[in-house]
C-alpha cells in the first residue's frame, strides 16, 4: 500500500504530492514499482492547521476520480476518519477506507457498508484525530490493541461491512510511545492469530527514528526491518513510502516463508 499524501504538510517529504499532477505521476510510479493499493490522504496525522470536511473532500475526491480513471483495477484506499469524506470518495471510486484514528466517527462503518468498501480498523489509543500521545500507558498494550481493533471489526461487521473486507491495524506510533510500538511489532502474531488480515503502517515512523537515533530521511533500513519482521509474523498489508524497496524486502520474506517461489534459481543447480 503506497502512501500518496494530498497535503502540503505531512511529516515525510512534506508537499511532494501536493500538486495533483505530481501526485498522479507518483501513483503511476508506485504502481510500476509493485504497489497493489494506494492510500490517499488529505489530512496529515500531526497537529496543524484545521482541514475542514469540504477542504478534505476537495483534496481527495477529484484525485480519486483521476486515479480510478487512470488505473481501473488498482485498489484505492483513502485515509480518513470522517464519514462525509468516506461517502464522497467511495462515490468517486474508492475501495477501502483507512480509518487511522480508530473509529472516531461512528458513522464511517455505515458508509463502507453502503458502498461495499473495505474498512481498516485501527488502534489509536482513544486519541482524538490529529493529536499526539502524551504520557500514554497500558497495562498490556497488545491486549488493548486486540480489544480495540476486534471491537471495531465486530462493530463494522454489525454495520454491514463485508467481513472479507475488514482489516485490523495496530497503528504504530498512534497513541503509543516507541516501547509500545516495539511491543506490538514483537507480538504482531497475536493479531494475526485473530484471523483478521493485519495492516501495518510503519514506514519512516518516529518509533523507528527513536529506536535507531535516525532522522526522518534515514529510516529506510529500519522501516524495511520492521516490515520484514511483520511480514514474517503474518501481516498482509504494508503502508509505505518506499514501494520498490519494500516490495523487494517483502518478496524476499515471502520466499523465505515459502509463500512464493524465487524468481530464478541456478546457483549450485546447473
Amino acid at each position: 500500500m503506497a502512501i500518496i499524501n494530498r497535503t502540503p504538510d505531512s511529516f515525510y517529504r512534506p508537499g511532494i504530492t501536493w500538486d495533483e499532477g505530481a501526485a498522479l505521476e507518483r501513483v503511476h510510479e508506485v504502481v510500476a514499482e509493485g504497489a497493489d493499493i494506494v492510500d490517499i490522504g488529505g489530512v496529515p496525522a500531526k497537529p496543524g492547521a484545521d482541514v475542514t470536511v469540504s477542504e478534505e473532500i476537495r483534496r481527495t475526491v477529484p484525485f480519486v476520480e483521476a486515479v480510478r480513471s487512470a488505473h481501473p483495477d488498482l485498489v484505492i484506499s483513502v485515509d480518513t476518519w470522517r464519514h462525509e469524506v468516506g461517502q464522497a470518495v467511495c462515490a468517486a471510486g474508492a475501495d477501502l477506507l483507512n480509518d487511522s484514528w480508530g473509529g472516531w466517527d461512528p458513522l464511517l462503518p455505515g458508509v463502507a457498508a453502503e458502498y461495499g468498501a473495505g474498512l481498516v480498523c485501527s488502534h489509536a489509543g482513544g486519541l482524538a484525530p490529529r493529536t499526539r500521545p502524551f504520557r500514554v500507558s497500558y497495562a498490556d498494550v497488545t491486549a488493548d490493541v486486540l480489544d480495540t481493533t476486534l471491537g471495531l471489526a465486530g462493530r463494522a461487521a454489525d454495520a454491514g461491512v463485508d467481513p472479507a473486507r475488514i482489516i485490523i491495524d495496530p497503528a504504530h506510533d498512534f497513541g503509543k510511545n516507541t516501547w509500545h510500538s516495539l511491543e506490538i511489532t514483537r507480538r504482531l502474531g497475536d493479531m494475526v492469530a485473530t484471523g483478521w488480515p493485519v495492516l501495518v503502517s510503519l514506514s519512516n515512523k518516529d518509533f523507528i527514528g527513536e529506536t535507531l537515533g535516525a532522522g526522518v530521511e534515514d529510516r529506510l533500513p529500519g522501516s524495511l526491518a520492521v516490515a520484514a519482521v511483520s511480514a514474517w509474523l503474518g501481516a498482509r498489508i504494508f503502508r509505505v513510502h518506499h514501494v520498490r524497496e519494500t516490495r523487494q524486502a517483502l518478496d524476499m520474506i515471502a520466499a523465505v516463508r515459502g509463500d512464493v517461489r524465487p524468481v530464478r534459481t541456478v546457483r549450485g543447480l546447473a
Binding site: 515459502g258 512464493v260 517461489r261 524465487p262 524468481v263 530464478r264 534459481t265 541456478v266 543447480l269 546447473a270
Partner: protein
C-alpha cells in the same frame, strides 16, 4: 539387444520446479524431452536409465525424483529418492508418457573404465529390446563462473566427448581418462563408458541435439541408434 540410446545431462535444473518462477534453460529441457520421446518411440521393451552415483547399484524402478533435497520448500518426499541423475532420467521417461518396464542403474563415480564397459555389455545382452537413457554431464569447469571455476582443458574435453558421440565412435568414450574427468568435474564419464560397452559396434546413427555450457557445465543431448539388423 539394445536398439537405441539417448544421452542427457543431469543438472537439477532439468526439474522445472527447481529453477523458480523463470523457466531457466527451456531449450535444454525441450531437447531432453525430445530425446526421451524419441527413445520411447524406438519401441523398447525395457528402458535402462544409467547415471552416476556414489556407488554402483540398482534402484527401485518405481522410485521418484526427490526434489526436497534440493529445495525443501517444494515438499518432502516420503522416502529418500534415487540419486539425482536417475531421478531425472525417470522423470524424463514419465514426462514422455513411458510406463513400461524400466531399470534404474547407478554406476559408481569411481568405477574404472573396464568395469563400466563390462556393465554396459551385460545390460545390452538382454534378450529383450532395450533402450538406454544415459544421464551425465560434461565438465563443470567451462567458465570462470562455472561451479568448478575455469579449467582451460575443459572445453577440449567436452568437445572430444561430443565428437565421439556425433561420429558414433563410442570407442573414444571408452578411452576417456577417469582421472582427468574427475579433475574436470565431468560427472558423465562412468555412464558414457557404460554406453560405450553397450554399443560397441560401428555404424551407429547419431544426432546431437544440444551441446553447450550456458552455466559453465557441459550439457550434451544426443540420440544414438543401433544399425538395423544388428
Amino acid at each position: 539387444m539394445i536398439v537405441s540410446a539417448a544421452v542427457c545431462p543431469s543438472p537439477p535444473l532439468l526439474a522445472r520446479e527447481l529453477s523458480g518462477r523463470e523457466p531457466v534453460l527451456p531449450e535444454l529441457r525441450d531437447a531432453c524431452a525430445e530425446a526421451a520421446g524419441w527413445l520411447v518411440g524406438s519401441q523398447p521393451q525395457t528402458i535402462i536409465v544409467v547415471g552416476p552415483a556414489a556407488t554402483t547399484a540398482q534402484w527401485d524402478p518405481g522410485s521418484q525424483l526427490d526434489l526436497s533435497a534440493f529445495a525443501p520448500a517444494l515438499g518432502a518426499a516420503g522416502k529418500p529418492g534415487p540419486p539425482m541423475p536417475l531421478g531425472l532420467g525417470a522423470l524424463l521417461l514419465d514426462q514422455a508418457g513411458y510406463s513400461g518396464p524400466r531399470i534404474l542403474h547407478a554406476v559408481g563415480d569411481d568405477e574404472p573404465a573396464d568395469r563400466c564397459l563390462r556393465l554396459g555389455a551385460e545390460l545390452a545382452r538382454s534378450p529383450a529390446r532395450v533402450a538406454m537413457l544415459v544421464m551425465g554431464d560434461g565438465s563443470a569447469r567451462r567458465s570462470p563462473a562455472a561451479p568448478g571455476h575455469f579449467d582451460e582443458r575443459a572445453a577440449a574435453f567436452d568437445a572430444g566427448v561430443e565428437r565421439a558421440v556425433r561420429d558414433g565412435d563410442l570407442g573414444a568414450l571408452a578411452a576417456v581418462d577417469p582421472a582427468l574427468a574427475r579433475e574436470l568435474m565431468a560427472t558423465g564419464r562412468p555412464g558414457w563408458q557404460v554406453l560405450a560397452g553397450a554399443m560397441p559396434a560401428p555404424g551407429l546413427t547419431t544426432d546431437v541435439r544440444y551441446a553447450d555450457a550456458p552455466y559453465g557445465v557441459g550439457y550434451l543431448v544426443a540420440l544414438i541408434q543401433q544399425p538395423r539388423g544388428d
